[in-house]
């Protein structure tokens, strides 16, 4: 990393010195305490106004989750991994739970699968809205930020009603979920989806179709299909480049095999397409929510934990579930004390789901103890980081936020 101006000048000339004409670059640090970044640092070398080298320097939020997981009980790792991206909590923890379920050999019951799907989609919307909001603020459009965060509250409220926490739900546990939906939830969810559909049009009007924003995004940061594949990009960014890959499509998990929805694939691969891809995905998620809610309404409230756990439950547990105990919340599934000292049979499992930002991958290895032997987490943002290095050079400095924001980054997720 050559420092630009400080490192001396060209050989002494008679008369006047021209400082380093041969290396006309300028090193700018974007981050960590910079409005155009959070939790990370991008070292940008600009030549005039054009970026020539972009070096994402991450790890400012590296909280050593993989190591900590090796020392903690299986169930304790669910909240631990959730902290990777608390705004996408269910999607982030789900593959871990799935992987452990594979090792345990349990299959969650249907209702649990639908409940997980429901929360996953709510989280996906919330996470997309978060990303759009941040994107808006990067382009100087504070209204989009506020709108997105305001509408995100709708879905956070839904999630809160469902799980009892705004962001950190820790919702799926091995073999099931921790709560059932409250009685008025389906109605609320339908209202919320209707509201959101209308709002998306207004978003398009004030942001995506706004000529100002369009000109910032169109033909900026074009990632071709091959480049996206080569770099291993994931999620809506991948689909905005025209690759038809979505875990929900290629390897349906939970209830995604039973609900109907579309996977929007865009062809342009520029920042605008990435933004549109998110909007379209929100539309599809709304569809899924409605279907899941319909299904949940039709089916009785049972089987939200694996039978193995739930069959032997004492009466108190069922009382709590049906709301008989006044100080405790209703529809709360109590955990077995067994969870505190769960031992998982040895084996290796790999699980992937489509989280809000893309494919989330866990590799879990157990050696039969009450702690995992190794948990490898690869989060979608981490796989997207590489795009900054290869996509940004050649663009103008002002395109940095337009590209960076369009990838919907979330540094705690990639740093783990």
């Amino acid at each position: 990393m050559a420092s630009n101006i400080s490192s001396g000048s060209v050989p002494h000339l008679p008369g006047m010195e021209v400082t380093e004409l041969s290396k006309n670059t300028y090193e700018v640090y974007i981050g960590p305490a910079h409005p155009g970044s959070g939790h990370m640092r991008i070292i940008v070398e600009v030549d005039g106004d054009v970026m020539v080298r972009v070096d994402p320097d991450i790890g400012f939020v590296h909280r050593t989750m993989e190591k900590l997981a090796e020392g903690r009980d299986w169930i304790k790792n669910i909240p631990l991994f959730e902290r990777m991206a608390i705004l996408d909590a269910c999607n982030i923890t789900l593959p871990y739970v799935e992987a452990v379920e594979r090792l345990l050999g349990t299959e969650p019951p249907d209702r649990a699968r639908y409940l997980r799907t429901l929360l996953c989609e709510i989280n996906r919307i919330a996470s997309h809205l978060y990303g759009m909001g941040i994107f808006g603020v990067f382009l100087g459009h504070s209204t989009l930020y506020m709108w997105a965060f305001g509408d995100r509250e709708v879905f956070i409220d839904l999630a809160e009603q469902m799980t009892g926490a705004r962001l950190t739900h820790s919702y799926p546990v091995f073999g099931g979920v921790r709560r059932d939906i409250p009685d008025d939830f389906p109605e609320n969810a339908r209202k919320a989806t209707k509201y959101m559909r209308n709002r998306l049009n207004e978003y398009a009007k004030i942001f995506l179709n706004n000529p100002n924003i369009r000109s910032r995004l169109e033909n900026v940061g074009i990632m071709s299909k091959n480049l996206a594949t080569e770099l291993g990009i994931v999620g809506p960014n991948l689909r905005a480049s025209g690759v038809r890959y979505d875990v929900r499509l290629n390897e349906p998990y939970e209830a995604y095999g039973d609900v109907e929805f579309e996977i929007p694939v865009f062809e342009e691969g520029d920042s605008l397409a990435r933004a549109w891809a998110r909007v379209e995905e929100i539309r599809q998620s709304l569809n899924i929510i409605e279907q899941a809610v319909d299904w949940l309404e039709k089916h009785p409230r049972e089987n939200f934990m694996h039978e193995k756990f739930w069959k032997t439950a004492p009466k108190l547990y069922k009382d709590v579930f049906s709301g008989q105990i006044d100080y405790a919340g209703k529809y709360r599934v109590k955990l077995m004390p067994l969870f505190a000292s769960l031992k998982v049979p040895p084996g290796k499992a790999f699980a992937r789901v489509e989280a809000g930002r893309g494919e989330m991958v866990y590799y879990v290895e157990s050696d039969g103890e009450d702690v995992p032997y190794r948990v490898r987490v690869v989060s979608p943002s981490f796989r997207n980081v590489i795009a900054f290095k290869y996509l940004m050079p050649g663009h103008r400095l002002m395109d940095l936020p337009a590209i960076y924001g369009s990838f919907d980054y979330f540094p705690p997720e990639w740093d783990r």
Partner: protein, 175 residues
């Protein structure tokens, strides 16, 4: 699921066809197919797999088997462009010695492995030969010197009893 099992078997066969005698063992793990190759044939196998259609790396995992004095490196690879292959995940793994961990880098073949190899390098101290840019990624040099994900680096767990003194909240304790 029965059909799925069959397909898995067929992909195992085709993998065997592709990699031929590079394979030490091939095993159906939970959720992926573990293919073990010798270290010196890693690059070759990777090239063959890439030609076969596996176009990106999902994860580069290293596991420290301290009892056996080994590292096992697994490249979980899959495909985007080939819809048939995208249903499978192949774990291309190799086992290296723990004392002097060296490994050819695959980031020339799959660019998507570049950052992940950097990460493995800093957490395990495993050196990837001919990696284009092998620098620290997440950690500071001080922390990276500990090689934190190796099993001989142990983080302290607290007990669930309160004999741990809560009064010790002074600045000196943690610093």
């Amino acid at each position: 699921m029965v059909g799925g099992e069959k397909k898995l078997i067929s992909i195992q066969d085709s993998l065997k066809n592709v990699l031929k005698d590079n394979i030490i063992s091939i095993e159906q793990a939970k959720g992926y197919i573990d293919v073990l190759v010798p270290t010196d044939k890693l690059v070759d196998s990777a090239k063959k797999l890439k030609e076969f259609g596996f176009d990106h790396v999902k994860s580069v995992t290293a596991v420290d088997y301290i009892a056996k004095k080994q590292f096992k490196i697994t490249y979980h690879i899959s495909s985007y462009l080939n819809e048939e292959l995208s249903k499978y995940i192949i774990g291309l793994s190799t086992i290296i010695n723990r004392d002097d961990p060296h490994l050819p880098s695959l980031s020339k073949i799959w660019v998507s492995a570049e950052f992940q190899e950097r990460e493995v390098y800093e957490f395990f101290g495993i050196i990837f030969d001919d990696h284009p840019d092998l620098r620290l990624l997440l950690l500071t040099p001080v922390v990276a010197a500990l090689k934190p994900l190796r099993k001989d680096f142990v983080v302290k767990e607290e007990s669930d009893n309160i004999e741990v003194d809560y009064a010790a909240y002074n600045a000196t304790k943690w610093w």
